[in-house]
């Protein structure tokens, strides 16, 4: 589904984000583990096609997205959603924010509001619908950003530290949601520096200094 | 222009602009641009004359552009005026010879004054203007006084330079010779602050007299200090007929009466003198003489 082949990312300030990563993601639940600064966020952005690698290539269903014309690239991008580590909000209320990606995809106003409310309900935060999105607490913003991602029913969601800033109850809520999404067949790539997501993942990789240093599969897999 | 809102805004703005311009053109079929010297305009005389002219010609907008005489003539040469009203005979002659202006009408006159500190350290009081300038130069060289010049190629400045030439002196660059590069009112204020000498038109001086406590008029009268205001038709004018009408209006009895009484009440002295058939011959002679210096 998503393939990375010898991917290198070098930022303008000279720092390397990734140094030769090979990966095949065929759906299911992939946990990306590793300490802060190991390249998890960079890898997620490359997989979401919002960051172009400096070297190496990306394949989405066998196609190199960066060789595509702009409208085709946009179409590819819209099937995946990357959820930021520090979720940003647009001006307006929470409902506007959650409905926004649907509006981008041409969904009508009423329909997008209905689906946005459903997504908020799934995270049990529909009471926040009319809140000013810029005044949410970090935990609330996290939940809203997750709702914003699931509202569009993407094929793949790339979560960057989805349990950060959350209390114990909400962390459980999110982990359960991840399981539900997996059961619905949504591809999940979840970066985390804590191990709890690895417990429910099908597969886990460990990044260190921009390189994959460990891979494991839950069912019959072994470390290499 | 990818944003539709901005495109709409742009279209609206252009429509307003073009529409407004067309309406404006349509509403004002006749425009008479008069480039004029500041000293004439600043007294308010011209606005009074324009109001009278408009009463006779309601469909005409008289537009005064008040600048120094030099700039007024230059703008006429660029084709940006229908008429010029100026008071610098030597400059006027140049532009007549260049074929920029014609149909001279002398419509008013008054005098220049040499003003200076009350105690008159250069002792010029009552002298002939050329002698007075010589005395000022001498006192200046001795470091006793300063002279303030307009330095802006205005009619007053042109006259001042002519007087220096008459005296065969060139004060330019001397430490006591200060060029303000600004209008008469400012120049008089500078002279007042510095207790210095300067050449001024009588109108501006009378108007500001109350605030110029350090200064007093020292040299007045005489042909060399005669300040002659002439109007000209700009040859390239697109409204020559209308411009001619305005020019004739300037020398009409109506305007001449206005000039005679203008500002007398307010300033306690006549600002401008009207031109009649006897004074006209004399003025023409003086003009020719001044144009040559």
């Amino acid at each position: 589904m998503i393939g990375l082949k010898d991917v290198w990312v070098r930022y303008p300030d000279g720092v390397y984000g990734l140094r030769g990563v090979d990966l095949k993601f065929e759906g299911g639940f992939l946990a990306v583990l590793g300490p802060n600064g190991s390249g998890k966020t960079t890898m997620l952005k490359v997989m979401a096609c919002i960051l172009k690698p400096t070297r190496g290539s990306v394949f989405i269903r066998g196609v190199d997205p960066w060789a595509l014309p702009e409208d085709k690239l946009l179409g590819l991008r819209r099937r995946h959603i990357y959820v930021q580590e520090k979720p940003k909000m647009l001006k307006g209320d929470v409902l506007y924010n959650v409905a926004y990606p649907l509006r981008l995809r041409g969904v009508s106003r009423d329909e997008s509001h209905r689906r946005a409310l459903e997504a908020l309900e799934e995270l049990r935060i529909s009471r926040l619908a009319e809140f000013d999105a810029k005044r949410l607490s970090a935990g609330q913003a996290r939940l809203v950003s997750i709702a914003r991602a699931i509202a569009v029913n993407p094929e793949v969601i790339l979560f960057d530290e989805p349990t950060a800033y959350l209390d114990r109850d909400n962390r459980r809520l999110v982990l359960e949601l991840l399981k539900r999404l997996k059961d619905r067949g949504v591809g999940l790539v979840v970066a985390s520096h804590v191990g709890e997501v690895a417990e429910i993942a099908d597969e886990a990789i460990t990044l260190e200094q921009g390189k994959i240093t460990g891979r494991s599969r839950r069912k019959g897999g072994s470390e290499n | 222009m990818r944003n539709p809102t901005l495109t709409v805004l742009f279209v609206i703005a252009v429509t307003i602009l073009v529409g407004g311009y067309l309406i404006y053109q349509w509403c004002m079929p006749k425009r008479l641009v008069v480039s004029t010297t500041t000293s004439l305009y600043a007294t308010g005389l011209l606005d009074a004359i324009a109001d009278g002219f408009k009463a006779h010609n309601p469909n005409v907008e008289v537009v005064f552009v008040a600048v120094g005489s030099g700039e007024a003539l230059r703008r006429a040469a660029q084709g940006d005026a229908d008429l010029v009203l100026v008071h610098a005979p030597s400059l006027e002659l140049t532009y007549i010879q260049k074929g920029v202006i014609s149909k001279s009408r002398i419509f008013a006159y008054n005098y220049f004054l040499i003003v200076g500190p009350k105690d008159d350290p250069a002792r010029i009081e009552g002298l002939d203007p050329v002698e007075a300038f010589k005395a000022i130069f001498k006192a200046g060289e001795e470091g006793e006084i300063e002279f303030i010049s307009r330095g802006d190629n205005s009619g007053t400045h042109v006259r001042e330079l002519a007087l220096w030439r008459r005296a065969h002196l060139d004060p330019k660059g001397e430490p006591w010779y200060i060029e303000t590069g600004s209008g008469m009112a400012e120049t008089l204020r500078v002279a007042n602050e510095k207790r210095a000498y300067t050449l001024t038109d009588v109108g501006t001086y009378l108007k500001l007299k109350e605030t110029l406590g350090e200064l007093k008029p020292l040299v007045k009268g005489g042909r060399l200090l005669l300040n002659i205001y002439s109007g000209y038709l700009v040859v390239s004018s697109k409204e020559p007929e209308l411009a001619m009408r305005f020019l004739e209006y300037l020398v009409s009895d109506e305007v001449q009466a206005l000039i005679k009484n203008f500002g007398v009440e307010e300033y306690g002295g006549q600002l401008f003198y009207p031109v009649n058939s006897t004074s006209l011959a004399e003025l023409k002679k003086a003009w020719a003489e001044l144009a040559e210096v």
């Binding site: 919002i50 959603i81 940003k88 981008l104 | 660029q78």
Partner: protein
């Protein structure tokens, strides 16, 4: 004309002339700022530097250039714009273009830093990104327009040179002040100056408020 009435018309003329100028300028300055926000090419950088350099162009220099253009003997003389309010509108619109563009650009770049990645990851296309940037940066854009208005209102060189300070037609606050000073009537000049200062100050306060939110 009654003095207070004339004063009022001068103030109103100033506001409408400069307002129209800024409106006109915004129709190209804001799209230009948006365009520069979204580009990272070398040419874009050069344009940006040029605009920043032009923000401090002396108004008299611009006024003179425009005079040469609009003069009857100049290339645009046939328009008959010289000594009309439209000449001032066009001149001031050009004058404030670098200022509005550069302030709007700074604001929009900040907004872009904040939400660009979010917009892309949510699947916004090029055009949708522009729309969202305008929406998110509305305060910054408004600030730039108000500051442009402030500059247009307070400039003398363009209004005097191409407007000609014609009574009842192109006399605006700054040219009226200059004239009253040259007439030696400081009282009227001071009261006009105070009005100008008040308007400026009020606008600056509004801009600051916009910036805080």
């Amino acid at each position: 004309m009654e003095p207070t009435y004339e004063l009022l018309t001068i103030v109103l003329r100033s506001v409408s002339v400069s307002g129209l100028a800024v409106l006109l300028s915004s129709t190209w300055s804001i799209p230009l700022a948006l365009r520069l926000t979204l580009t990272s090419s070398k040419l874009g950088k050069m344009v940006e530097d040029l605009i920043n350099a032009l923000t401090s162009i002396p108004t008299v220099v611009l006024g003179l250039l425009l005079y040469m253009l609009l003069s009857r003997s100049g290339p645009l003389g046939f328009l008959g714009l010289l000594y009309t309010p439209y000449a001032i509108v066009v001149g001031q619109a050009i004058l404030v273009t670098p200022l509005i563009t550069s302030i709007a650009l700074t604001g929009l770049l900040k907004v872009k830093d904040e939400v660009w990645e979010l917009l892309i990851s949510l699947g916004a296309g090029r055009r949708q990104v522009s729309q969202a940037l305008v929406r998110e940066g509305l305060h910054q854009i408004l600030s730039s327009i108000l500051l442009g208005f402030n500059r247009a209102l307070g400039e003398l060189g363009v209004a005097l040179t191409v407007g000609g300070n014609v009574r009842g037609l192109t006399r605006v606050m700054t040219t009226a002040i200059a004239l009253e000073v040259s007439r030696g009537e400081y009282e009227l000049a001071v009261s006009l100056g105070l009005i100008l200062l008040t308007v400026s100050l009020a606008l600056t306060l509004v801009v600051r408020r916009l910036g805080v939110r």
